[in-house]
């Protein structure tokens, strides 16, 4: 969705200077779409229209949009449970995303997965995942498959690279260390992008992991090149991440990115946030990635006027409202059709009261 169109930057210029106005306006649109979507998500959650748990992406928009905008559409993406932003940046229909959280049949998993489990195969999104760090070996496997397709099956010449996102809390999970070792050992083209928002739930990174200011050293221990990027500016993300991802793709090797960002909301919707001050949140809001980009487009590029920005926000508001309306008006999954569906392919009498396997209805949005 956020595929960049570029021309060669002149000497001494930043890679993002070569991005077209259209691309940057599209990124602004996507970032604002995520922001607006999350605002409405919080409202719906507070109105008890969304069940389960809900992790809001607001503040981190430049991370998903900038990194996904730096790679190809068929590069696999896999992430953790703060996944609405990645789903939207990857091109999931906001209606399917919202309906999933509302538990409706039109959701991306027919309302049976919820907020943490956004999957969109046509857009090469291999899930949000609810267990901290457990998605990281999956990223290694997805990268392994891209390599296998090119080198063994020879079904494609195309070099692909997998983006595997994790939070800073996942740095301390065993699975991540196994995954990094595999990726380093087999030279798998997977980039582990740590969206480092400073807190694993209520524990600050300094209280949770060693060398919190030098995370790339951890990756170095597995022979993986690391890079620090300011995740509050989408242009900085692109400037640094694009060449890095290109190199990992070309050389078919792993990478590690400490993408420094901040979440404006609590860890989940039920977080008293005793671990940080309001001043700290304000400090980051003053560096807001969307405001940053608007300023750049209005005053540096001069490709966006106040009126156009107001109009874009309005359009997005309407689109998200429509998504909420769609979610509200959609049906809940039917017991007969969906309670027992999509578990496994073979019929099994004792699997369900109806005694047969059902492949549930396909979602028209995906």
């Amino acid at each position: 969705m956020s595929q960049a169109t570029t021309s060669e930057p002149a000497a001494g210029k930043r890679p993002s200077d070569g991005l077209s106005d259209e691309t940057l306006l599209k990124w602004l649109y996507d970032m604002q779409l995520i922001r607006e979507f999350e605002t409405r998500t919080m409202q719906a959650y507070q109105q008890a229209k969304i069940g389960g748990f809900c992790h809001i992406y607001s503040g981190q928009e430049a991370c998903a949009v900038g990194t996904i905008g730096s790679v190809e559409h068929d590069d696999p993406v896999v992430t953790a449970y703060r996944d609405h932003g990645h789903a939207l940046a990857r091109g999931m229909d906001p209606k399917a995303c919202m309906a999933e959280m509302f538990g409706k049949i039109t959701g991306c998993a027919k309302g049976k997965g919820g907020s943490m489990h956004m999957f969109d195969k046509p857009n090469h999104l291999y899930g949000g995942h609810g267990i901290v760090g457990a998605q990281t070996p999956l990223g290694a496997g997805l990268a392994f498959a891209t390599k296998y397709e090119r080198e063994v099956l020879k079904t494609t010449d195309k070099k692909r690279v997998c983006l595997c996102y994790l939070g800073d809390g996942a740095l301390n999970q065993g699975a991540f260390h196994e995954a990094q070792n595999l990726a380093g050992l087999f030279s798998l083209p997977v980039i582990y992008i740590v969206e480092n928002n400073g807190y694993s739930m209520g524990t600050s990174i300094a209280r949770g992991t060693t060398m919190p200011d030098q995370l790339t050293l951890k990756a170095k221990g597995y022979g993986i090149e690391g890079l620090e990027i300011d995740g509050m500016s989408v242009l900085d993300v692109y400037d640094k991440f694009k060449p890095f991802a290109d190199a990992c793709r070309d050389e078919q090797r792993p990478g590690f990115v400490d993408l420094k960002t901040y979440r404006y909301q609590g860890h989940s919707m039920s977080d008293p946030q005793k671990y940080r001050t309001k001043d700290e949140v304000e400090e980051f809001k003053n560096r807001d990635s969307i405001a940053n980009l608007v300023d750049h487009l209005m005053n540096k590029r001069e490709c966006l006027s106040e009126d156009e920005w107001t109009e874009m926000q309005k359009e997005i508001r309407e689109r998200v409202k429509e998504a909420v309306k769609f979610a509200e008006e959609s049906d809940a999954p039917g017991v007969e059709e969906e309670l027992y569906s999509d578990v496994m392919v073979n019929p099994s009498k004792n699997m369900s009261p109806i005694g047969k396997y059902i492949e549930g209805a396909k979602n028209p949005l995906l």
Partner: protein, 324 residues
Amino acid sequence: MPELNLVQAINQALAQEMERDERVVVLGEDVGLNGGVFRVTEGLQAKFGRERVVDTPLAESGIIGASIGLAMADMRPVPEIQFEGFLGPAYDQLVNHAARFRTRTRGAITIPMTVRVPVGGGIHAPELHSDSPEAIYSHSPGLKVLMPSTPYDAKGMLLAAIRDPDPCIFFEPKRVYRSFKEEVPEGDYEVPIGQAKVVSEGDDITVVTWGAPVFQCLAAMDELPDDVSVELIDLRTIYPMDTDTIIESVRKTGRCVVVHEAPRTAGMGAEIATVIQEACFLHLEAPVQRVTGFDTVMPYYKLELDYLPESPRIVQAVRECLAY
């Protein structure tokens, strides 16, 4: 027709399926150069190369997690976990990921992964190398749990499992690995997942079992008087379970003994007894008996045969069930 043992039959199935389908990848600790801890993958790396038979680090969560990633991308990974006790570190990936992705993706993403795992006791190994955790994984909707007891079934079931679109745990009873040979067709055939086998027909009592205890049950039948007619069922697939075959048999015999190596409480025997009382209540002549491991940690080898359901205990249970 050539005679093969369980190890050879599995090896042949792997080789033939790798030949047939280039998407099949074998990976695990020492599966390549060393040919696997029980030598089940012997010769595969030499034949198919290091790209397809991959020696991995000692990291079960990473092996299964990466296999799931491969499967999501439409490969056919066949990871080996060296012993059933080492499934522990991979439990998260199996139960929280592999089992659930079909549901989570409304069927768009399935996990065609077959995890091969040597299972059970009887080879003088310690605990974690002699356990029988089939009930644990049968309790995770989305996983299929298989345990062939013969070379013929092992080959056919492994081919069926690798071609199955869902994640399968393929338990290989270590005690049977090299215990006997039988005729195994060289060609391609599948033994369907979810189908039990009636090993011997009988009218007086049904004995349900799977894995290595199949042979303890056969030994027990030899020890019973000739006029006792036992119907022996090898479940083969633990989940999804072929309850039809069990029900049909118990409705005929009215008596049943379930035999398994795993601990008694919440073992599959409990599930089978429940299925029987639900479906055969008015046919029953006696309570369903269980001959199982005990609710203890699997003991080291001096006590191993006291723990496992050996034939004397099976004979006694059958006698008691008949005399009830």
